[in-house]
């Protein structure tokens, strides 16, 4: 019988993986396990892959639970729950030596490997014979996990009551029964493994959010009330979340006919004075580029979220990539300064989107916010947000004096002009996509004016670059021998790799900016000084951030690119650090191990 014998639950750090047929509850089993572990007081970090098809195909859900703050989805699997042979075959290679395999013995018989511990459980027949509902096999499995590893059963029970309460008492009872059927079944078996959790160390409540959910909460907090969008994986759940929540706050969602209309409606609503945003993924973002340019020239605040997936074209819709950075920074025609920022963690999705709205309002231009499938769809425990951390900024409005002979695009020292809204007498103007003068009237044949106006638009970058410097984070050594520069969702995994490398005695540090365009040049310059080599890990093929940095720095960066639609593991980055360190110490030039392409 397991008990709370695990004296130091801070040492708990286990990876659970659930695999099976898509559409048969694999994802919801993973979610319930996650929620229970989080409520039990553990930090959690999930990763899921699911087929592009809706029903059928293989799906799996992984959750890492720890007594300490988690930065990545981990490495080897400690516990594999396999509902079918395919899941077993796909994942068995990832289970660490001494790890546990729990499987549905009604579905298949595993050819046992010597180094692993097996618990065959007739999940399906327990569900059909004892409960009479086949799908409760998922809950039976949770009962087994709870009993075997001492994950508090009352926490499971509470969750089941919440989840199934709406479906009536009978359904709740059947699920509770299933949980106990699983627990009792395994209680009679001999325990062979040493995995025990018990209650976790965290006492305070925390939220369990996906990146996309966290982003929605932040958008609501900062005053976004209009969302226009067109469905696309992995961004659709942002629209769905807001469609549910915005009406309660007097706002709404418009589902437009395409992404061009979505960003058009955002510009229109923002022009009228409302805070608006759209979210999409690569294909939709490509369609938005012409409108983004309009937003820059007409100087309209707008927030455009791109939850990146694998491209080009339709690519791999449910898989992750950091492949849209070029498009975000340079997409569209003309000289077109927009702000590009990248979200780095589930918690950062909350504060990051708030900052995006603030910058859009403050600088009156579109802000592109890059997330990705791995971040948008993973869940993590997040402290209840502290709203005082990010103030809410409003756009600059014209004063009464400024409304006399009002100039919408007036030149000012900070390059931001007073922006009137329709309905204000005396503030009439034309938001103009043609090159225009200070009043907004077209000046499409005035050559000197074009330079002045372009200078004005780029002038905003001085202040944004300052912010970019302030929003750059350094992890590990601030002046390391081996530097790492990352962006976006790789923050956690890089931090973990840096910690591991430091433990091994390497001089390592990582720089992670939140604003990527314009770049935090001061911070980058300072960081690069004194480094012997700098690695740039990116989940893309060509090294898009590395390429942007090479434009500004004559530095022989070492690229580390992963282009299989999956995020990095800490080990992959650690291996690269060790490889580069070996070269540095043997005195070889860094170009000898430049990008493997």
């Amino acid at each position: 019988m397991p008990s709370n014998s695990n004296s130091n639950h801070r040492d708990v750090d286990y990876v659970f993986r659930v695999g099976g047929e898509g559409g048969e509850g694999v994802i919801s089993t993973g979610e319930m396990l996650t929620q229970t572990l989080a409520r039990a007081g553990y930090d959690i970090y999930t990763f899921r892959t699911y087929p592009a098809e809706i029903k059928g195909g293989h799906a799996n859900y992984q959750v890492r639970a720890s007594g300490k703050v988690l930065l990545s989805y981990g490495a080897a699997v400690d516990v594999l729950l396999a509902f079918n042979q395919e899941a077993y075959d796909k994942h068995i290679g990832d289970v660490r030596a001494g790890g546990v395999v729990l499987y549905d013995s009604d579905s298949f018989t595993a050819a046992a490997r010597e180094s692993l511990i097996y618990y065959p459980v007739p999940l399906t027949s327990l569900a059909t014979e004892k409960i009479g509902v086949k799908l409760t096999k998922n809950i039976v499995a949770l009962g087994v996990l709870g009993q075997l590893f001492d994950i508090p059963l009352p926490t499971f029970e509470h969750l089941l009551k919440e989840r199934f309460g709406r479906k009536g008492e009978t359904v709740v009872q059947k699920n509770l029964q299933a949980l106990h059927v699983g627990a009792e079944y395994i209680a009679h078996q001999r325990k062979q493994d040493a995995i025990l959790l018990g209650p976790g160390p965290r006492q305070t409540k925390s939220l369990i959010l996906s990146g996309n959910e966290s982003l929605c909460l932040g958008a609501i907090a900062v005053g976004c009330r209009v969302y226009a969008g067109y469905p696309i994986t992995p961004a659709s759940d942002i629209m769905e979340f807001l469609a549910k929540e915005l009406p309660k706050l007097g706002g709404f969602v418009v589902q437009t006919e395409d992404e061009i209309a979505a960003i058009g409606a955002v510009l229109g609503a923002s022009f009228a004075g409302a805070k608006a945003m759209t979210a999409t993924s690569g294909p939709g973002f490509s369609l938005m580029t012409e409108m983004m340019g309009l937003g820059v020239v007409a100087e309209i605040p707008a927030v455009i979220v791109n939850v990146q997936r694998v491209g080009p074209s339709t690519g791999m819709p449910t898989k992750t990539e950091q492949g849209d950075l070029y498009l975000a920074c340079y997409g569209g025609h003309g000289n077109c300064p927009r702000i590009v920022m990248a979200l780095t963690s589930v918690e950062d999705c909350f504060y990051g989107i708030m900052r995006a709205f603030n910058m859009a309002e403050q600088f009156q231009l579109p802000v592109v916010v890059l997330s990705d499938a791995s971040l948008g769809h993973r869940k993590a425990t997040v402290p209840v947000p502290d709203l005082s951390r990010v103030p809410v900024i409003e756009r600059r409005k014209p004063s009464l004096e400024e409304l006399v002979n009002y100039k919408r695009y007036q030149y000012t020292p900070e390059h931001v002009s007073p922006m009137s809204v329709p309905g204000v007498s005396g503030g009439g103007y034309i938001a103009e996509g043609l090159e225009h003068d200070e009043t907004g009237y077209p000046a499409a044949s005035n050559h000197e004016n074009h330079l002045r106006a372009t200078n004005k638009r780029y002038g905003k970058f001085h202040a944004v670059e300052q912010m970019a410097n302030e929003l750059t984070r350094i992890y590990g050594e601030p002046h390391p021998e081996i530097g790492i520069i990352g962006w976006g969702s790789t923050e956690g995994v890089i931090r973990e790799a840096v910690q591991l490398a430091q433990e091994k005695g390497y001089s390592v540090g990582a720089l992670h900016p939140k604003i990527l365009y314009p770049q935090p040049l001061a911070k980058l310059t300072e960081f690069l000084q004194g480094t012997k080599a700098v690695i740039i890990p990116e989940v893309n093929y060509s090294g898009q951030f590395a390429t942007l940095l090479r434009k500004r720095f004559a530095y022989d960066f070492v690229q580390l690119n992963k282009c299989i639609g999956l995020p990095f593991t800490p080990k992959e980055i650690l291996d690269k650090i060790e490889e580069v360190a070996a070269h540095v110490h043997s005195g070889r030039r860094s170009s000898a191990y430049a990008a493997k392409l």
């Binding site: 939220l207 061009i260 209309a261 058009g264 510009l267 309009l294 009439g428």
Partner: protein, 286 residues
């Protein structure tokens, strides 16, 4: 009642002398004056084209955006502040060519706004290529052997897509045109006014005299504007006799009526910015 001159912009129109668009500008100003809508409460949104330059010549708030994309922006502006009188303007290329997807869905959405299309059956600004309403076999710069495709019927398209006010005017009859526009602004829902607005420079076929010989007014023939089938039939009447006037009008709840946030209360744009209490939403995620 307001004066027409209150709606005259600071910049003089730079259209070719004789261009049909002058009459449209004038008719719009007249309609707004008749309805006594203060200029600062009028929002004119356009795309790109000769006709789309109109917001520059009227005293109101304007938005001169992208080719084909006036309707999404107008929709956003209207939903952001539903106290505004929103008018979208543009050309046949802008609205029925590159932007036709938005046209289809804006009809269906029935947002309360007026869409005035200056239909000159040619691409004017780009100096004379065929447009979606160019008739078959017409020689243009891009169709030296004559157009191969048949022309699209904007009236029929608007009807099938669910527009609730569908009318046609002619730049050669300014008072009638102003009436059509006034009716459109007063109408609650998405209103299309397709205007024969001759391009005197690049369309030597559909000229003022060409239209004068053919047009007649539906009003003069006791047309029933509630009869959808009849409206469809009239939409395709072309050749010797071409109808002007109100083809169809129906009351259907607007997007604003159906959207709770817009039905009640202050426009979003006028609501004070304040911090939102997230406590209730966060309960779902603990």
């Amino acid at each position: 009642m307001a004066q027409v001159k209150e709606y005259i912009g600071k910049v003089k129109p730079d259209w070719c002398p004789g261009c049909g668009d002058f009459a449209v500008l004038n008719a719009l100003q007249r309609a707004l004056a008749d309805l006594d809508i203060a200029p600062h409460n009028v929002q004119v949104v356009s795309g790109i084209g000769c006709s789309s330059n109109l917001p520059g010549f009227i005293n109101a708030y304007g938005f001169h955006g992208l080719h084909g994309r006036s309707l999404p922006v107008a929709t956003g502006a209207r939903l952001g502040n539903h106290d505004l009188t929103v008018i979208a303007t543009g050309g046949d290329g802008d609205g029925y060519g590159i932007g036709v997807g938005h046209f289809v869905h804006t009809c269906r959405r029935n947002v309360n706004m007026t869409y005035i299309v200056m239909d000159n059956q040619v691409y004017g600004l780009t100096t004379g290529q065929a447009s979606p309403t160019t008739e078959k076999d017409i020689v243009t710069k891009s169709t030296p052997e004559g157009t191969i495709e048949i022309a699209l019927s904007p009236i029929a398209l608007a009807l099938t897509c669910g527009a609730t006010y569908v009318a046609r005017g002619f730049s050669g009859d300014n008072l009638h045109l102003a009436q059509m526009i006034k009716g459109a602004i007063e109408h609650k829902g998405f209103a299309l006014v397709d205007v024969f607005s001759p391009c005197v420079t690049y369309n030597k076929h559909n000229t003022y005299p060409w239209f004068r010989e053919r047009v007649y007014k539906l009003e003069d023939e006791k047309h029933d504007t509630a009869d959808f089938r009849l409206a469809m039939e009239k939409a395709f009447e072309w050749g010797a006799r071409i109808p002007l006037g109100l083809f169809y009008k129906v009351e259907r709840p607007t997007y604003e009526d159906e959207e709770p946030a817009l039905r009640s209360g202050t426009p979003l744009a006028k609501q004070p910015l304040q911090r939102t209490d997230l406590a209730a939403i966060m309960e779902d995620f603990i």
